[in-house]
């Protein structure tokens, strides 16, 4: 390889590494979304006692609303929560067999899952550094178990590569690392990296590349015991006489690059996706349920807010029974914490200043789709040796999530058969639930042909059809955040907003917690220093 000839390909490879390893473009994407910083939770909030009879109305019994309610109550505020649904949790939500879900447009799904099976249509992971939401899980005694993000034996799949045959994650990752390490080792030996790496460091780099890429003594990535220790063997080592392992053949570099499957091996590199991640035993909804239990009668269910009015004396909320649309009532308090999703809040008459109003009006919620599919047996475990984690595909269902509980059980299992945002999710929302399920089956069966014989029933939640959110989460962009974020979060008279949409962790429950804690902290400061 001549230096001049290799420069462009090396550069493009390096940028590819950046993409896969979580720098460059991904870092940009992350900062754009506000992910680059971790949870700012620093411990339980401590509020001094407010003046007697200080009342706060909280709109919405989701994670943000209930965190605000618990903490304000504990500090001595008189709180009351109005909730649209007949249950606590909001988007902290699990669907079990026997549940009924009616979406906008009237389609009703009766969930047919067996006992013990479920899907979380909304949030489903608790990263270890989301200390806020983890604090409340701990405080409320919600049992947590590990959530597996990366499964080396799950599949990465592209209809455009390997004849559409799914590849194992570990093979693609090992081959990508191995080939990149070999190329860099060659460049280093040929002194192509002189400017970037000092002579002293070169030797260390060579050692590191050999180690990282599973290269042989000649710094080559090829069929060997060393490479098979990463990508797996053609015949695994055994016991006794017929025990000799047979190494497997790595994919050729060009095949691997053109497959583009390298783009599917980055998931666990991201801060939010790194081990350890947790999930509540029995479904994410266990957290909302525990918060609801803690608040008990302070939550009034089935309340549809129809008006929010503030004046010098306080805040007046007008609401009706969400089931009948009738029975107009009002509730009054000195202050209001409002967690209603912005697409809904934008439609409710509300006298806040023009800046907050503009912020609310300019924050739609994203499209998202989740499909849960129950199968007669856990073929992914029995046939494919896949225990938890995810397979990724370029098909519109995007991924298959394997259940991360009841491993090795003989019974049935529920897969997350689709989890998409953006255009595929818009398209899904335009179809009836049964069509979304059919699509997920058609796509997933290209990865697991067992779908066809083992499928039993499913449920599909397209978030733009969810009556109480009109989308899955605040659709922040850089420009929107610049123009509106601070105005959305500011105290407007007696009203303060809280939700994941008022956080820099959009779509994460920790964002809801941090938003609520920040909101009540600022509200409390205002109460104490009028």
């Amino acid at each position: 390889m001549s230096t001049s000839g290799t420069t462009p390909s090396r550069r493009s490879l390096l940028s590819m590494i950046g993409v896969v390893a979580g720098s460059a473009a991904m870092y940009h994407a992350m900062t754009e979304l506000g992910y680059a910083e971790g949870s700012s939770f620093t411990g339980p909030i401590k509020l001094s006692p407010p003046p007697p009879d200080t009342t706060v109305l909280i709109l919405g019994a989701g994670v943000a609303g209930m965190v605000a309610a618990m903490e304000l109550r504990d500090a001595g505020y008189k709180v009351r929560v109005l909730e649209y649904n007949g249950r606590p949790g909001g988007r902290n939500w699990t669907l079990y067999g026997g549940d009924t879900y009616t979406e906008l447009g009237g389609a009703t799904q009766h969930v047919q899952f067996d006992p013990g099976q479920y899907i979380n249509p909304g949030p489903w992971r608790l990263p270890y550094h989301h200390r806020g939401i983890l604090h409340y899980a701990r405080r409320l005694g919600v049992a947590l178990e590990p959530f597996t993000q990366v499964n080396y034996n799950a599949y990465v799949h592209s209809t455009d590569a390997y004849g559409g045959k799914p590849q194992r994650y570990r093979q693609v990752q090992a081959d990508f690392h191995g080939h990149v390490a070999e190329l860099l080792a060659k460049s280093t030996r040929q002194n192509a990296l002189d400017q970037a790496v000092s002579k002293e460091d070169r030797e260390i780099l060579m050692l590191a590349l050999r180690d990282w890429g599973a290269l042989d003594a000649n710094y080559e990535y090829k069929k060997s015991i060393a490479s098979s220790m990463r990508r797996g063997f053609e015949v695994d080592p055994g016991g006794g006489i017929k025990s000799v392992p047979k190494p497997s053949e790595p994919a050729a570099l060009s095949t691997l690059l053109r497959s583009r499957l390298w783009s599917a091996i980055g998931s666990g590199h991201n801060y939010e996706m790194q081990s350890a991640i947790f999930q509540p035993k029995g479904g994410m909804g266990m957290i909302g349920r525990a918060m609801g239990k803690d608040l008990g009668p302070l939550i009034e269910y089935n309340c549809k807010v129809t008006g929010i009015h503030q004046d010098q004396a306080g805040v007046t909320i007008t609401y009706v029974d969400s089931r009948s649309g009738k029975d107009v009532r009002t509730a009054k308090a000195k202050w209001c914490i409002c967690t209603i999703p912005t697409p809904i809040l934008a439609q409710i008459p509300m006298n806040v200043g023009p800046k907050m109003k503009a912020a609310i009006d300019q924050l739609p919620y994203l499209a998202a789709l989740k499909v849960g599919l129950q199968f007669k047996r856990r073929f992914w475990e029995e046939d494919d040796d896949i225990y938890g984690g995810h397979s990724y595909t370029n098909l519109p269902n995007a991924l298959i999530g394997y259940p991360m509980w009841d491993y090795f059980s003989k019974g049935k299992g529920v897969l997350l058969g689709a989890y998409t945002f953006g255009r595929p999710a818009y398209i899904a929302a335009s179809k009836p639930p049964e069509e979304r399920i059919k699509d997920a089956l058609r796509h997933g069966s290209q990865i697991h042909p067992q779908y066809k014989s083992e499928f039993e029933n499913g449920v599909a939640v397209a978030w733009h059809r969810v009556p109480w959110t009109l989308g899955c989460q605040g659709a922040w962009t850089d420009a929107r955040r610049e123009a509106h974020y601070n105005n959305l979060c500011a105290l407007d008279g007696r009203i303060m907003l809280a939700s994941e949409h008022a956080s820099r962790l959009p779509g994460w429950q920790d964002g809801s917690v941090l938003s609520a804690l920040d909101a009540i902290g600022r509200l409390h400061a205002r109460v104490m220093n009028p």
């Binding site: 896969v20 994407a29 992350m30 754009e32 979304l33 992910y35 988007r91 906008l104 447009g105 009237g106 489903w124 992971r125 990263p127 592209s158 455009d160 583009r260 783009s263 599917a264 998931s267 590199h269 991201n270 939010e272 996706m273 549809k304 999703p341 912005t342 697409p343 809904i344 934008a346 439609q347 009006d361 739609p364 994203l366 499209a367 990724y392 370029n394 519109p396 991924l399 989890y419 998409t420 945002f421 953006g422 255009r423 595929p424 999710a425 818009y426 398209i427 929302a429 335009s430 059809r465 009556p467 959110t469 009109l470 989460q473 659709a475 922040w476 962009t477 959009p506 779509g507 994460w508």
Partner: protein
Amino acid sequence: MMPGHKVVFCIALAVLPGFSAAAQETPDFRGAPFSMQGGEAVYRGVCQGCHMADAKGATGAGAYPALAGNSRLASAGYVLSMVMNGHKGMPPFRGHFTNQQLSDVVNYVRSHFGNQYKDQVKPADVQSLR
């Protein structure tokens, strides 16, 4: 899979979280381009997800407005601006569709579902708002 759709993986999904935030204005997060052609196909493929198949909208905690019998549709410019820029829960679609798709769907909703507006927007009108 849709024609011309190269692997659009899911670094998107990968990067993006739990519940998360895929649909930013970054190509990878958006999936394959909307390939449907003609106003009806665009309406059936995307718009009816919220405005419903009969264009009568729907009501829950909030509402999706009806396009059927909605006097605001009298202004083609209003409809086009709403579709392109969004407002109050309506996401902006300017980045998701071509000028042709956008003008087609605006003309479609203004001439169906009981709406009979004769004036039409053209792709050039869309372009002028980009």
